[in-house]
Symmetry: C2
Subunit: 327 residues, 2 copies
Amino acid sequence: MALMDRLESRKAKINRELEKALAVGDNETLRGAMKHYPLAGGKRLRPLLSYLVAEAISGNGEPTVPYGVGLEIIHNFTLVHDDIMDRSDLRRGIVSVHKKYNTPTAIIAGDALFALAFENICNLQIDDALLRIIVNDTALAVREVAEGQQMDMEFEKKHDVAVRDYLNMIDKKTSRLYFAAARSGAIIGRGTLEQIKAMGELGYLMGIGFQIWDDVLDLEGEEEKTGKPFGGDIREGKRTLMVVYGMNELRGEDRKTFSSILGNSKASRKSIQETVSLLHKCGAVSYAKNFALEYVREAKEKTTVLKSSEAKELLMELIDYTVRRDN
Amino acid sequence: MALMDRLESRKAKINRELEKALAVGDNETLRGAMKHYPLAGGKRLRPLLSYLVAEAISGNGEPTVPYGVGLEIIHNFTLVHDDIMDRSDLRRGIVSVHKKYNTPTAIIAGDALFALAFENICNLQIDDALLRIIVNDTALAVREVAEGQQMDMEFEKKHDVAVRDYLNMIDKKTSRLYFAAARSGAIIGRGTLEQIKAMGELGYLMGIGFQIWDDVLDLEGEEEKTGKPFGGDIREGKRTLMVVYGMNELRGEDRKTFSSILGNSKASRKSIQETVSLLHKCGAVSYAKNFALEYVREAKEKTTVLKSSEAKELLMELIDYTVRRDN
């Protein structure tokens, strides 16, 4: 049975609580803007990660649900604000929040989602002392996500982004929420210190693999599946791992062509295809794929601190999924 | 001695911790954008309210400082996002964050400040069970602030805003943070249930008075003192209490003139002065001032649950200050 089918009952619990969590507030427009992304689908990878980690440790993942819901809401709030900043009109195959409503409402909806996330996290049925740790860790993670977004934007104007810089950026922009998901799952499941530490590392590694794969999908995915326009990252001039590699390897005419298209918001589909060919030609795409696979392999190794169980197996498959998915 | 001088040592403690709190993060641009408003001055009314409430109850307001710092950071995050939405270029006499940096960085800086606020609140040296309550209350308050901002925007396009609607809007947009400040101050000071309840009400009433006075200052204040352009609310078409009253009372030519200027972002200084005269003429300004004074009077009555002390006196003066200030 496919992984997502095997995870269905867990995902259904998360979705049910997420839907309930979003049925709040007195302003109809704001409520609509807040629900727009979270209820338009989504893989729920972060809540599932938290859930499976706690289940693998304690036999029960359900106590993580309020946290998973909080994380999913945080993830969605960052998407709402991201799309304003990137002027993206499409997300998950639907029109973006600021396009459907307007920019002020999208800014407010993102802020309200952020607040709502912490309300949900406060619903965790765990020791108050542990809640303090989780609230603090999560707030820090969100601040680091913001820092990662700032770096991401600044890189668009930089020519000499090193692999190290890129990794530092996606560690913040993406991995911190995976780190928080897995680590808090271990805390909620009352894991040992060793398990809590290992699960944090697992989340970090998985997050890096996830982000690199996301960048690959921007160039290789099918629009109907990703719900995003093909080559959006190239048009925005994003310094993905492939671009960083390509800028180092490409020479002469190839380099000139590549540079002229990168960051051109009006680049044609044909131009984007040309950059993709160049990135393939110089080995950037396979480099990035192998890079992601290596992180995923290391992430799976971290599960040695968990005893054998169905949840552990599912967790390993979930990690694998980050580099097998097509959306 | 003037109130603000008598509060100086308390304010200095708050400012010291606020400055420390803002010295975080690895990205210089983001750090600059985050500090831009909070370190450009500010009355620190919310932290001082929390501080004085706790001091009046327990004799010591210092334990509230991490909370006050969190509230002040939240207040500033809402200003950063507000100024993007309202396209305001000036705040506290300095250029706004999105003008000094750019809109994406301002969105990110607001988000990062929001996260940082919760990190600071987690530093409160109080029972973990009380921290859970305070985090939850504060997250809810921020969500309601967002809802109030949405209402405020929607009102700009409405002709028939009732006083009741206006009060509901500023209750959310402004009073919730005052409510949280005073109520949490009472919780941190280990007040009785009666005191906690009364202080929450005090904060609510003070917040309403504060917001109405803020609207009055937009029309009557001196730009060098308010740090904001004269009549900005009129140009944006904000439905302040004076405008709501004026729209009900003005007739004939006066009404036509008033309506034609309200919401005209390019209105001249002379036009703005004309609307101010009309609002005076129909009694809207004195109506609003009396309204604010009445709320402030009721707020002070709530202090009957506090025993006599210097802190209680200062608290009452702080409440009075909201309708005596010139900035």
